[in-house]
Symmetry: C2
Subunit: 200 residues, 2 copies
């Protein structure tokens, strides 16, 4: 059975839980409290030198890091990642958008507000993160005004990757009511068969 | 013929130049000065709502953003991206590492030092960027102490993506002499057939 090293409250880790549950695939989950240093121990760094969760371990011990790379690997050959070359390219485009233009603002605002004390100096970063995160949400809103899903007219890993931190963006101070197309898409994602909520 | 909208001095854009030259593939290059607002015009935002370069346009007008997604698309079916499922997963792992843990520090330090005035408030970010970028270089150094290339024993798009901003990391204030395995790998990359330097 495959193993996921992850932190349940992390959106990057939740992506894998959501896909695996929707694939109805069995897996072992090892909880790693990355918010309190558990990804910086020598034992964990031997598995992932970049010191991050999630991490996939195959039955034979091989290891794969980076949530969106793991999503692609697990979704290969399933309806969640199309075979068509152009559709795959678009899925990757949205996955890289998520990791570069979305997660560093929306997930980080949530982390600072949810995990760091009110007097922590990083609280001062939140207004800038809200501004940059709003740009990412505006890009998503524009796309979703014209499309039900991110790629090819079907629910897939681009939706899963973007759902992970968008649905809990309110935790970081974003007001999702300002984005009606995103709000309708979030509800469509929640209605997909096998959907499981994030443990928060 | 395909078109690349890009800025020559950008490592993210140089990735595509390097791959296309090594594939000996013809392309049209449209220079877009993203450092001076050319990706924020209504005309450009109509092509890429996220307002970034590079951007690929196919002969039929279809558009694809995100440098590493474009690399994957262009490398499909070539020796630069293996068909094997596990090797592809590892290539994606390194591409996401590049965009999340490497580029936001190493490329941004270079941008601040090379494009912003000495009195710009963002100059204060440089020490933190140097620290986080050094973590990424350490992860690369550790891998390259044991492997000639990032994936599967062959030069490919993971090497191209990581070369783009690593080889000019000195521009941002990093001392590459402290990373002998990286330095040897940079030299191996430079010796690959069809290698073309970045215009700086």
């Amino acid at each position: 059975m495959i193993t996921i090293y992850g932190m349940r409250a992390s959106g990057n880790c939740y992506k894998l839980q959501l896909l695996l549950d929707q694939l109805d695939r069995e897996y072992r989950w090892v909880e790693v409290d990355s918010a309190h240093g558990a990804t910086r121990t020598p034992e964990y760094l031997a598995k992932n030198p970049n010191g991050k969760v999630p991490l996939l371990q195959l039955e034979d011990g091989r290891l794969l890091a980076e949530s969106d790379a793991i999503l692609c690997y697990l979704a290969e050959g399933t309806p969640f990642l199309p075979d068509d070359r152009w559709l795959r390219a678009q899925a990757l485009q949205w996955l890289f958008f998520e990791q570069y233009s979305h997660e560093p603002y929306i997930a980080v605002a949530r982390f600072i507000r949810g995990w760091l004390p009110a007097e922590h100096p990083r609280q001062a970063d939140v207004p800038g993160l809200l501004q940059r995160g709003a740009q990412a949400l505006a890009v998503m809103e524009q796309h979703l005004q014209q499309h039900d899903w991110f790629v090819g007219g079907h629910y897939g890993i681009a939706d899963i990757a973007l759902y992970a931190y968008t649905h809990c963006a309110g935790d970081g101070g974003f007001d999702l009511a300002a984005y009606p197309a995103i709000s309708a898409w979030l509800e469509r994602v929640r209605r997909q068969p096998g959907h499981t909520p994030m443990q928060r």
